[in-house]
Structures are given as C-alpha cells and as structure tokens.
C-alpha cells in the first residue's frame, strides 16, 4: 500500500484476501510467462527436427532418448515426432488459456481494489 496521508479507507479482512489473491495471480502470471517461453521454444525445436527429418534421406535416425541417441527406423521417428508435436502444441494452448484467465481475474480485482482504495494502492508492475 502507498504511504498516504492516513485518511484513506480502512482495510478489512476481505480486502486483505483480495490483495493476497492479486499477489498470487501476479506470481503465477510471471511463472506462466516463463513456461510459455519454454513451451514455444520446444515447439520450434520440434518443428525444426521435423524439417531436418524430411530433408535427410537416411533410413536409420539417431533419436535422443534420455541421455543417449538410439538408432531408430525413420518411420518410427516420424510417428514419435508427430506425437511429441501434438503434445507440445496442446501444452502451449493450455498455458495460454491459463494466462488469459489470470489476466481477466486480475482486471476484476483491480477494479474492486482501485474502487475502494483509489490512490492509496498501487497494483502496477514497477
């Protein structure tokens, strides 16, 4: 809360809970931004891998499983890659939906808190 002139509205337990909730949402938002960045990179990497596979004409591909590169027939690799791409795309979609939801909730809370406290509270990113 801002250091005001002392003549602002009293903070009730409900207000405190709203402030806490806003804090939690904000933290989750930052985490999500990081996770979304990683998910986008993963998607790009899988796309690149797919392209490389198409370009190469080898029958046996070295596919990374764990810490080793297993020799796998090209078709198996294609199937696995498709599955991985699908999973990665779904994950990214899920994360972006969560982000949308959180942003909406934060807008609502801002309305409530600014409504009551006006200048006495600052909910912006510094």
């Amino acid at each position: 809360m801002q250091q005001g002139d002392g003549a602002e509205a009293q903070v009730t337990w409900e207000d405190q809970q709203n402030i806490n909730r806003f804090g939690r949402l904000n933290n989750r938002l930052h985490e999500l931004d990081d996770e979304i960045k990683l998910a986008k990179e993963a998607n790009e990497n899988l796309d690149d891998a797919g392209n490389e596979l198409i370009l190469s004409d080898e029958d046996v591909v070295r596919f990374q499983i764990g810490e080793v590169f297993a020799h796998m027939p090209r078709d198996d690799v294609e199937t696995r890659l498709e599955q991985m791409k699908e999973d990665a795309a779904k994950k990214l979609e899920r994360l972006e939906e969560e982000k949308e939801s959180i942003l909406a909730q934060m807008v609502e809370l801002k309305k409530i808190l600014y409504g009551k406290f006006k200048d006495a509270i600052n909910l912006e990113e510094d």
Binding site: D5, W13, Q17, N20, E67, F69, H71
Partner: protein, 188 residues
C-alpha cells in the same frame, strides 16, 4: 489439511512450521494490545517480513530441485520403455552415447532383462525392467506430490508476506494521521 485461502481471523494459524501473520483489524488497538509504540511495532513487523522472505528463498530452492528432478525421472521411464519395446520385438537397441565430453561411442544393448538404477549415495542397483518401471513411477508420483505441497507452502508464505507488508503500511499511515491530528489540535 486446510489449504484454504483463509489465513486468519477464522482460519489457519500456521502451516508446516510457518506461522501465519495475524490480520490487524484496527491499528490503534493492535499497538495498544501489543504494548508497542509505532517504531517498535514497525521494527517487529519488518523483522517478521524478513523471516518470511528467508522461508520463501528456501522453498524456492527446493522447488527448483524438484522441478529439475521430474524431467530426469521421465527420461528414465522413457528409456526403460524403449528397452522393453525392443525386447518384445526381439531386437537389440543400438545407441550412441557420450563416452566423455564431445566423444561418443556406439553400444549394442541385447540383454534387456534388467537395468541398473542410480539410487544416489554412490549406490547403483540392478532391477528387472518391470521392477525399474514400478520404482521410477513411484518416485515420479512422490516428486509430483512433493511439488504440489511445496507450491502450496510457497503461496502461504507469500500471502503472509503480503499481509505483513500491508500491516506495515497501515501502521505507518496511522502514525502519520495521528501526528497530523495532533498538529492540527495544537494549532487551533
């Protein structure tokens, strides 16, 4: 376990060793009951805030460890599954692996009845593929469950920090208000 959002007044008083920050209904009565003047009150609250921050740092470190551990276990499960697939096909698994930094070698893995699992503390045990699967799955579940608990701990700790920060601001503002009123009455 009450992992609800409510902390106080009608809720949780602590969570796994982390004390809850008590919500102050009215600053004046809070200071009077605690028999603290404004500066001591602020000092006490600041110290509490620091303690919460230390707890948060510790929890964040644990969270990072767990978040690194989970993909590792998943990779292990992946490779055990691959070995089992190959065994079912009656084929050997040819793999290129890192012998030393930048140097790779080729291995042909034929007998895939068992794997060795690193258990930590310089101990490696041999397990059948099925046993290894079961053990790894259990470890994965435990890690995920621990992570969930940890995330809830972190949220609780951050909530207490927020409550404490708001209380500090309110005590400070109350003090400013008091001084202004006293000043006003003096001048009249």
């Amino acid at each position: 376990m009450a992992a609800a959002a409510a902390s106080t007044p009608q809720g949780v008083t602590e969570r796994r060793g982390i004390p809850a920050a008590s919500f102050v209904e009215d600053v004046e009565s809070y200071l009077r009951q605690a028999r603290l003047d404004v500066n001591s009150g602020l000092a006490f609250l600041q110290e509490r805030l620091q303690q919460y921050k230390i707890v948060e740092m510790k929890l964040l470190a644990q969270q990072r460890d767990l978040q690194a551990k989970i993909p590792d276990i998943e990779k292990c499960l992946d490779i055990v599954a691959s070995l089992q697939v190959k065994k079912a096909l009656g084929e050997a698994l040819t793999a290129d692996f890192e012998l030393s930094e930048g140097i790779y070698s080729r291995a042909k893995i034929e007998d895939t009845d068992s794997v060795c699992l690193w258990l930590g503390a310089n101990i490696m045990l041999e397990y059948s593929c099925d046993e290894a699967n079961a053990l790894l799955k259990k470890n994965l579940e435990n890690a995920k469950a621990s992570l969930e608990v940890l995330v809830a701990d972190l949220q609780f700790s951050r909530d207490q920090q927020t409550i404490t920060q708001v209380t500090i601001a309110r005590v400070f503002n109350w003090d400013v208000h008091q001084r202004r009123s006293k000043q006003a009455t003096k001048e009249t």
